[in-house]
Symmetry: C2
Subunit: 109 residues, 2 copies
């Protein structure tokens, strides 16, 4: 399976769906995004993430988590909180975040 | 709110998270993808969708649905079934599909 897919266990588990429109320019975004992805993947309960963005700056990142407690712990991570504040002030024109419980999953072809 | 975001109601509702890697070349994909997005958005219970793909062909589409019955009805749509078969045979190197119940949501900045 190509490495950009998350290797998640059998459901149930949780997904954080983060859809976002970037502002123009980098302004430190790419470095922080890489650091945050690495940090997230090292958190207890993080099962993986999938992320993509088109040339117009519209991105979707889905991170997968064992349970709601691990999502709360990641929300409360201090470095992540700093990055989120910068996201609100600088990097994101708009975002929508949804927390969902994955109930069924399959891959293909 | 920019139009690429889905205007979803207060949770709970459902999300179908479709992460996929395209094969090289178009092979009719773009036309079918547009037609399927329009068809999905016209289905009973479809609440919207968000979709993006990067230059390497890695895409994520999340469609939002009122309930599991509306997801099943979309799965059973005949035109959608034809498109899925073509996806498996031609358009997707790999995909992961996850069905999840959205429990919390917020937007920003």
């Amino acid at each position: 399976m190509p490495s950009r897919f998350a290797h998640t266990p059998a459901p149930p588990y949780y997904a954080v769906i983060f859809a976002n429109q970037r502002t123009p320019g980098d302004a430190g975004y790419e470095a922080m995004a890489s650091a945050m992805a690495e940090l997230a993947l090292g958190q207890p309960g993080c099962l993986g993430l999938e992320s993509t963005r088109d040339a117009a700056g519209f991105g979707i990142t889905v991170s997968y988590w064992l349970d709601e407690a691990s999502i709360r712990a990641w929300r409360d991570n201090a470095e992540h909180a700093v990055a989120r504040a910068r996201g609100r002030s600088t990097w994101y024109e708009h975002f929508e975040l949804r927390i969902a419980r994955v109930e069924r999953a399959y891959g293909g072809p």
